[in-house]
Symmetry: C2
């Protein structure tokens, strides 16, 4: 069975490519760097993953967090696995800094300002991910 | 240097005891089982923890998640490390189910109904944690 990313995630996000375990999406709202990792699994809660899968998913989240901090220059990263609306397991890795568009509120439901990424910005992010992480575009 | 839990967490939560790495708090709003784990570290972002510490913290979060599901009977667990207001690293492990007091919204900022735990309820949770997890009260 081919693994399919939930249609709501595909509607909300740009699909950038893949880390070894997780598909890498970027929320279309470019006000804040909001990455969403979708591990290739049918387990729905992060803390129910078998330990090896959980560790692999967290290592990939940590790599994206480092990317957000060091390459994109955001001071802090919020991390969450919620999934009350979209049941497919997905991990939020969100760059934050004091004074950002919804600081200090959590991003979910509170990011009211929007901004679209340009194609050049998306390509640049993809190139930097391929440079800095074990990332395959597409 | 003694490790001190942030005063805002102590104001918002009951302090239940300790797992090997994390202090275990329970948010005072008893509408939803909202555990907060405070790893004994001065790192502020979960994804910045060294791998061994991150894995240990996640294993403890997984144990509390299993407790919330199997012992307390909540179907789903939301997990997050945010820390935009309280900078000390703390991990939210939150029982959720369809129809709960703020379903399907994330709990942060959306749990408007309140309920206080009784002393008997708190003692019961502490006894069950000691039975089911590598947990020391106090």
């Amino acid at each position: 069975m081919a693994f399919e990313i939930h249609s709501q995630l595909l509607a909300d996000c740009h699909r950038l490519g893949k880390l070894p375990l997780c598909h890498v999406l970027l929320h279309k709202n470019g006000r804040i760097p909001w990455f969403i990792l979708v591990p290739q699994t049918d387990v729905t809660d992060l803390l129910d993953l078998p330990e090896a899968h959980r560790s692999a998913a967290m290592a990939e989240a940590a790599a994206v967090s480092e990317f957000v901090k060091k390459t994109l220059g955001w001071a802090k990263v919020n991390f969450a696995a919620i999934g009350n609306v979209v049941p497919q397991l997905h991990l939020h890795v969100v760059g934050r800094k004091p004074g950002d568009a919804c600081w200090p509120a959590p991003i979910w439901g509170n990011l009211n300002e929007t901004r679209e990424y340009s194609a050049a910005e998306l390509n640049n992010i993809i190139e930097l991910l391929a440079r800095d992480c074990d990332f395959q575009r597409g």
